[in-house]
């Protein structure tokens, strides 16, 4: 049996760190690859967006946005009631799961391309639309009752102009303005090299995730279980949203993956400023150490399988 190498790179990094190898990630390589991947995703989506009529895309975008609002509202009571977590922690974690992980999305994209499954090529737009609402809802949940304490100005700035949004949305706009023909000479750099860059990034993510094992210990059993169950719930919601929006099997699988993924870049940064009393170890332990590997290794093939059963 032949394994897909991309997740194997994650496993390699994870095991290397667990075994306390001295293999380290140059911090700026991590940043460089992350800039590259976000831009590449955005560019590709933008090129495709140029081909779509607006009224085709708009309703699907609306449904996606609502999904981002819904997921944290579902997660929050689970965290407070079942997990008995204090409000700020529950709200912060809910926000992480409402938002998304671009790298998880990238792995799903790569998975579909490898299988030659067609999908709505403007799907990166969903990624942009899902990044923010979950974070905002999380903050609102944390600050219910004393909303006046939230400094919305700086927060909006932080969230709307965070680096991932700027690169994704910026890539979308550049791709859209340039169109397929003018983007073509950028293909070797941004598209042909994509899978390789992704594999290197996953190696690094493996090291990072295993480095946060301590956080998981602090997070405890409940959050470990939550990190596996919540993506399944969110993916289900994602499939429902996809059905409402009338997406193809490939598109539904991507939306389910996005829904199932939890943020480990934008949400931690925003929550740290907006909800400082939430313990970051809890949300990072769950989202990065449990949910991220779960989606990469189990979730994506599973969502793909389901998408083929119900739509394909």
């Amino acid at each position: 049996m032949a394994f897909d190498p991309v997740p194997l790179f994650f496993v390699l990094g994870f095991l290397a760190r667990l075994a306390r190898s001295d293999l380290k990630i140059p911090g700026q390589l991590y940043e460089a690859l992350s800039i590259y991947l976000l831009l590449a995703i955005g560019l590709k989506g933008g090129v495709e967006l140029a081909k779509e009529p607006f009224f085709e895309v708009a309703p699907k975008a609306g449904v996606t946005f609502l999904l981002g609002v819904l997921i944290p509202l579902v997660a929050f009571p689970i965290l407070t009631r079942l997990g008995r977590l204090p409000r700020p922690d529950a709200a912060s974690i809910a926000g992480h799961y409402g938002s998304v992980s671009a790298v998880t999305f990238a792995v799903a994209l790569d998975f579909l391309r490898a299988k030659n499954v067609p999908f709505e090529a403007y799907a990166p737009l969903f990624l942009v639309l899902l990044e923010i609402p979950g974070i905002i809802v999380g903050i609102l949940l944390a600050r219910m009752g004393n909303l006046q304490t939230v400094r919305w100005g700086p927060l909006a700035h932080e969230v709307l102009l965070g680096k991932s949004i700027v690169l994704l949305a910026g890539g979308l706009v550049v791709g859209w303005l340039a169109g397929p023909e003018k983007i073509a000479p950028l293909e070797p750099f941004y598209f042909v090299g994509f899978k390789g860059a992704l594999s290197l990034f996953l190696l690094e993510m493996g090291l990072v995730a295993a480095g946060q094992i301590d956080a998981l210990k602090r997070a405890g059993v409940f959050l470990t279980v939550f990190g596996v169950v919540m993506p399944l719930i969110s993916a289900t919601l994602g499939f429902i949203a996809a059905a409402i929006a009338g997406l193809s099997a490939g598109g539904a699988m991507l939306l389910a993956t996005l829904a199932a993924s939890a943020s480990y870049i934008a949400a931690p940064a925003a929550m740290r400023i907006a909800v400082p009393e939430a313990n970051p170890a809890l949300s990072i332990g769950a989202s990065l150490v449990v949910t991220f590997p779960f989606n990469i290794l189990v979730g994506i093939p599973l969502y793909y399988f389901v998408s083929q059963q119900i739509i394909g």
């Binding site: 911090g27 990072v208 480095g211 956080a215 870049i265 940064a269 400023i273 400082p276 009393e277 170890a281």
Partner: protein, 101 residues
């Protein structure tokens, strides 16, 4: 050695997430400048390797008058110590061009 005018050096080691807040505060409280370098480290909240966004730590140093130093340290104590990974200390140094700080 020569006697020189003295000022305080304040050092704040903190998670990078609040670098922007801290440097803005420092300038608002009367400092005329600061220098930041990236560090990795360990403390009561575990190890911070600096490998990815949320694990970054910065070391901010501010050369300033004793009054401003007090203001900065008190501000850090009230606003950041509770919820953030922060360490702060201060000491006296001899400076050139004391009027600059």
């Amino acid at each position: 050695m020569k006697t020189r005018a003295t000022r305080q050096l304040v050092v704040i080691i903190a998670e990078e997430a609040i670098e922007g807040l801290l440097t803005t505060d420092v300038m608002r409280l009367g400092a005329h400048g600061y220098s930041v370098c990236e560090v990795r480290g360990q403390g009561s909240r575990g190890s911070r390797s600096g490998e990815w966004e949320a694990a970054k730590t910065v070391r901010i140093e501010v050369l300033c008058s004793p009054e401003v130093a007090d203001a900065i340290l008190d501000h850090v104590l009230t606003h950041y110590f509770r919820h953030y990974a922060v360490v702060a200390y201060t000491f006296e140094v001899g400076v050139l061009r004391p009027e600059k700080f």
